[in-house]
């Protein structure tokens, strides 16, 4: 993947492992200018992350089918590939070849644009997800704030598709989705703010770096247990996962804003919601579970084995464990989300809004205040 901005990195990448530099040098040896080489390099990590996101969705869909089957004592998909692993691909292929229907009285322009506006911000947010010290597309300074602001664009797409479908259930679903998203964004942002206050930076890399000191003990979940719960509840609500899937509550609203959609446009909603789930799980692991950090600090392990942290082989192993740990933590959270979906009943819309405004918002404010007080009182433990 890409290595950018190695300014604040404690362990610098050794020159042989810097893929970007090697790639640029290889292109420059063919006579291309430095800028042209950079231009050719730029789309590659983006493409890689896009493929990773889509594969992550396929895995999540398969897990959802298998785990729901296990919860309900069924077998689940079995014939498409070993243990049904190809079932998500079959689902995708089915949606791809289905007829693309636009209702006669619908607004065809907005109807088409809606799903796109739902998916694009979610995919853009993968920009800031770090899989390792230098393994992210761009270490932008506003980092986690970029994700919060991008995720606030999504309700516009939902409102658009709900309105354009010319269907009362769709419109109600779109309105519910926007109301839910706005209400839960505030406690979510306040929970993130408490973490940001401890790490003195909005950048996701700095947030993880601040949690690396003593392995599992320095993860933010021990210092921010309330913030972790608030963030997880709000992330589930933002992803419209059960128990908060009111915008598409089948018994009340048919399928909410998705009612009139078919084929690839429906697949975009489907893809968007699962990419969002995986992204939320990844960000929970970045913010609270130490991101790419191994439960034991890699520096200690390398020290015991008598290796230098900067040795190329150690760096390759560190990078690989980083990716594995990030994905492992994220999928543990995805597993919990799926288990929650198949074991909890749906809340009512008034309970949902009460929970958001009357419980989570004051709680998040108190959490922020306590974090600020603790930071002033114990600057060693809470990031001075």
């Amino acid at each position: 993947m890409v290595t950018l901005l190695a300014t604040s990195a404690p362990a610098l990448v050794s020159p042989g492992l810097d893929l970007e530099r090697s790639f640029s040098q290889a292109l420059e040896s063919f006579g291309l200018s430095e800028q042209a080489a950079r231009l050719i390099w730029l789309p590659l990590p983006m493409l890689l992350v896009l493929v990773a996101a889509v594969v992550g969705v396929l895995v999540t869909v398969w897990l959802e089918r298998k785990i729901s089957a296990a919860v309900q004592q069924r077998i689940g998909p079995e014939y498409a590939g070993a243990l049904g692993v190809l079932q998500p691909l079959a689902d995708g292929l089915k949606l791809l070849v289905k007829e693309d229907i636009i209702p006669a009285r619908a607004d065809s322009l907005l109807f088409t644009l809606g799903p796109v506006l739902v998916v694009v911000p979610v995919i853009l947010s993968w920009l800031i997800v770090p899989f390792g010290q230098n393994l992210l597309i761009s270490n932008v300074g506003v980092g986690i704030f970029l994700w919060i602001s991008l995720s606030s664009v999504q309700p516009i797409g939902l409102l658009m598709s709900g309105y354009a479908s010319n269907n009362k259930y769709s419109l109600l679903g779109g309105l519910r989705a926007a109301a839910q998203s706005i209400s839960y964004e505030i406690p979510l942002a306040l929970a993130v703010l408490a973490v940001v206050m401890m790490s003195n930076s909005l950048s996701t890399v700095d947030i993880v770096d601040q949690q690396t000191g003593a392995g599992i003990l320095s993860w933010n979940i021990w210092r921010q247990p309330v913030g972790f719960l608030i963030f997880w509840i709000c992330a589930l609500a933002e992803c419209e996962r059960l128990p908060f899937d009111l915008p598409e509550a089948e018994e009340e609203l048919v399928a909410g804003y998705q009612t009139e959609y078919a084929g690839m446009k429906f697949a975009l909603f489907y893809l968007g919601s699962y990419i969002n789930l995986v992204l939320s799980a990844l960000l929970v692991s970045v913010l609270y579970l130490g991101g790419w950090g191994f439960p034991l600090p890699v520096e200690w392990l390398a020290g015991w084995l008598g290796q230098s942290v900067d040795a190329p082989l150690v760096q390759v192993i560190t990078g690989t464990t980083g990716i594995v740990m990030t994905v492992l933590k994220a999928y543990l959270l995805v597993f919990i989300a799926i288990l929650l979906r198949w074991s909890t009943p749906r809340v009512r819309i008034d309970q949902l809004l009460d929970l958001g405004w009357k419980f989570l918002l004051p709680l998040a404010l108190v959490n922020l205040l306590v974090t600020a007080a603790l930071k002033l009182a114990f600057p060693v433990a809470f990031g001075g």
Binding site: L146, S149, S152, L175
Partner: protein, 199 residues
Amino acid sequence: MTIAASTQLICFLVLSSVIVLGALGVVLLSNIVYSAFLLGGVFLAVAGLYLLLNASFVAAAQVLVYVGAVNVLILFAIMLVNKKEDLAPIPGLTLRRLLSGGVCAGLFALLTRVVLTTPWADGPEPIGEDATIRIGEHLFTDYLLPFELASVLLLMAMIGAIVLARRDVQAVDPGTGEVADQGLIEKARTPLLVDQPPS
């Protein structure tokens, strides 16, 4: 011209044309829903311009506040009160349009003149990623009073919204002029959806 500079120029041209055409669409389109969605597009393009100026924090705040909150609330309001009604034709509409067009053209000429005659000094160097820290420092030192006044303004708006929404704190319903039912909110069992309020 380097590739980076030309990319920047192309981005600038695309964003500014989106802003100009989108803003014209917001004003001129007769379908109010299209206008609201186009407004969101204009806000996003303005955020893009901030990004080009190396002000990423301002750009993210622009998207969060204007697209994520203001525009969504505008859409909400439009969709909740979307009555299909034929508006009565206003007398002298052509004259009114000509007059407002003339005023706008005059304002545009004035602004163009100002832009061309002002000697624009080069601003300070963009500080890039440190901008977030610098904004925080300024907000809590020399711009503290405006910052706190803005929060008082928001508090006032919030109290106003609560007063409008909770009709039981008022003796008279502000919408209809009738005497408000004081116990409407406390009595959760009262059927709220019937045409006549229960006596």
